[in-house]
C-alpha cells in the first residue's frame, strides 16, 4: 500500500487526500467490533 502512495506522491504531486486500509482490515481480523464495516453480508442476523 505504501508503495502505491509513495508512487502517487512522487509522480503526481497534486493536492489530494488519500485514505488507505491495511489488508487485515478487509478480512475483519484487526478490530472485530467493526466487522460489519468490512463485511457486506450477515445483514439480518
Amino acid at each position: 500500500m505504501m508503495a502505491i502512495i509513495n508512487s502517487l506522491k512522487a509522480k503526481l504531486g497534486i493536492p489530494m487526500v488519500i485514505y488507505s486500509w491495511k489488508k487485515e482490515h478487509i478480512d475483519g481480523k484487526v478490530d472485530e467490533n467493526i466487522l460489519g464495516a468490512a463485511h457486506p453480508g450477515c445483514c439480518k442476523q
Partner: protein
C-alpha cells in the same frame, strides 16, 4: 473472474477515486489535469488479493472462525425472520458442535484462538447450556476465545453475569419505534422486555461490548434518525447495524415490507448528518458502506456455519436441506472425518461464482468496491447472477451522497469505518 476497475465518483466540487483498500479525494480541477488522470493508472497496478485460496473457517493462520446456530427455538415471531425461528424445536446437538471443533483443530493444529459466533436459527440464548459448554470446552484446551452472540435480547438479563465474565460481544436486535409490530413476543411484550434489558445494560455492561442491529421495514424507515440517536442518548449504545429487510428463503420472509430504497438512502444520510451535527460518538455499520476493496466475499474466506440440522454451510440462511443443497458444505457424520478438501471443492465449484466480481452489473459499476454487490445470498436465492435492482438503487443513492459529505468532513468516514484507516494528505 473479471478484474474490477477502480471507480470514479463525481462529487460536484470534487472527485472520489475508489480503489482496492484506498480512497482518494481531490478537486475536480486537479482530477481533470494531466497528472490527475495518472492516479487511475497508479492505483490499478495494485495487487489483487486472491480470495479463491479457500481459508475454510479461519480468520487467519492462527484463528478459527465458527458460527454456531444453537437452536431453532425462538420466543419471538419476527415478521421477517430469515430462518422461520420458532417453527421448529430442534437444538444443535452438543456432540456435533464439539465434533466440528475437534475436526477443525485437527485440520489446523497451529490454531491458538477461536472466534465463536452464536446466531440464529432461533434465539441462541434459549440453548445457553450449549453456548456455555462450547466455551468451556475451548478454554479447557487453553485456546483464546472471542465470543459474539447475536440475540433478540430478551434473555440477556438471565445470563448477564456469565456474559460479562466471558467478555461476550452482544449484538441485540431491536427495531426501535416499530419493534412491537415487527418483533412481537410469543405470548409476551417483547418491547417492554428489551427496553428493560437496554436500561440495565447501560449501567452494567461495557459499552464497547454492545451493539444493536436494527432491521428497517416500511414501518420504521421514516424514524431511522430518531430511533438510532435515541439508542445513543437513552441507552448509551455506540454501534448500530442498520439493514433494510429483504426476502430470504424462509416462509415468513417471502413477503417482506422492505422500505423504499430511495427513502432508506435519504434517511440514512439524514442520520449521518444528525450524528455529525450533534457530535454524537457512534459507529454506524451498514452493508452498503464497506471498506473499499475488491477481494472480500463474506462467506468464502473465513466462515463456516454449524446448523442444528447437522450441516456445515456457508451462511446462516442455509440451515437445512431443500434450500440450496449445492451450497451445503458438509453433512456431519461423526463416524468419519470431515473432508476439508471436499468443502473447498464445493466452495470453488458452487460458491465462488457468486463473488460480485462475476456480476455483470458490478464489473461496470464505479461503486462496487464499496457496496460489493451486497449480500451474495440475495443473488444466490434468486437463482443466478441477476442484478438485484433494489440493492443497486440504495448503493447508487447512498454512496455518492456519503462520499460527498466525507469529501468535506472526515468525520463521516470515521462514522462508518471507525479508526480503521490511515490518512495521507498530499500538497493540501
Amino acid at each position: 473472474m473479471q478484474e474490477l476497475k477502480a471507480g470514479v465518483v463525481d462529487l460536484g466540487e470534487g472527485v472520489a477515486i475508489i480503489g482496492n483498500r484506498i480512497l482518494i479525494f481531490l478537486s475536480k480541477k486537479e482530477f481533470n489535469s494531466k497528472k490527475g488522470k495518472g492516479i487511475l493508472h497508479e492505483i490499478e497496478r495494485k495487487e489483487d488479493c486472491n480470495c479463491e485460496e479457500g481459508l475454510c473457517a479461519r480468520a487467519d493462520e492462527r484463528t478459527l472462525s465458527i458460527t454456531f446456530l444453537p437452536t431453532m427455538r425462538c420466543n419471538l415471531r419476527c415478521i421477517y425472520c430469515y430462518s422461520d425461528g420458532g417453527w421448529d424445536n430442534r437444538d444443535l446437538c452438543l456432540e456435533d458442535a464439539l465434533y466440528v471443533i475437534d475436526q477443525l483443530l485437527k485440520e489446523y493444529p497451529q490454531i491458538n484462538k477461536v472466534n465463536l459466533y452464536f446466531a440464529g436459527g432461533g434465539e441462541p440464548l434459549l440453548n445457553f447450556s450449549l453456548i456455555r459448554e462450547v466455551v468451556n470446552y475451548l478454554k479447557d484446551k487453553y485456546l483464546k476465545t472471542h465470543i459474539r452472540i447475536v440475540t433478540n435480547g430478551t434473555l440477556i438479563l438471565d445470563y448477564i453475569d456469565w456474559l460479562k465474565k466471558n467478555d461476550v460481544y452482544l449484538r441485540i436486535s431491536y427495531d426501535g419505534s416499530s419493534h412491537f409490530k415487527t418483533r412481537p413476543g410469543f405470548g409476551f411484550n417483547s418491547e417492554e422486555k428489551i427496553v428493560k434489558t437496554l436500561n440495565t445494560l447501560k449501567d452494567e455492561y461495557p459499552p464497547d461490548k454492545l451493539s444493536v442491529q436494527m432491521t428497517i421495514t416500511k414501518f420504521n424507515v421514516l424514524n431511522i434518525p430518531t430511533d438510532v440517536v435515541t439508542l445513543s442518548t437513552l441507552y448509551g449504545i455506540r454501534t448500530v447495524k442498520i439493514e433494510p429487510v429483504q426476502t430470504s428463503c424462509s416462509e415468513r420472509s417471502k413477503i417482506v415490507d422492505s422500505p423504499d430504497p430511495l427513502l432508506f438512502s435519504k434517511k440514512m444520510i439524514s442520520l449521518f448528518d444528525m450524528i455529525i451535527k450533534e457530535d454524537i460518538e457512534m459507529f454506524i455499520d451498514t452493508s452498503y458502506l464497506s471498506i473499499p476493496s475488491n477481494s472480500y466475499f463474506c462467506s468464502l474466506r473465513n466462515k463456516i456455519v454449524v446448523s442444528p440440522y447437522g450441516l456445515l454451510t456457508p451462511c446462516v440462511e442455509i440451515v437445512k436441506e431443500g434450500v440450496k443443497d449445492d451450497l451445503i458444505l458438509w453433512k456431519i457424520d461423526k463416524s468419519k472425518d470431515i473432508n476439508f478438501s471436499a468443502i473447498r471443492e464445493v466452495q470453488m465449484k458452487n460458491l465462488f461464482k457468486f463473488h460480485y466480481k462475476n456480476y455483470p452489473v458490478c464489473s461496470q459499476c464505479n461503486l462496487s468496491y464499496i457496496c460489493k454487490g451486497n449480500c451474495p445470498m440475495r443473488m444466490i436465492l434468486r437463482g443466478g447472477l441477476v442484478p438485484y435492482e433494489y440493492n443497486c438503487s440504495i448503493a447508487r443513492n447512498l454512496i455518492p451522497e456519503f462520499l460527498n459529505r466525507a469529501y468535506h468532513d472526515e468525520r463521516y468516514l470515521k462514522l462508518v469505518f471507525g479508526n480503521s484507516f490511515s490518512v495521507h494528505r498530499e500538497c493540501v
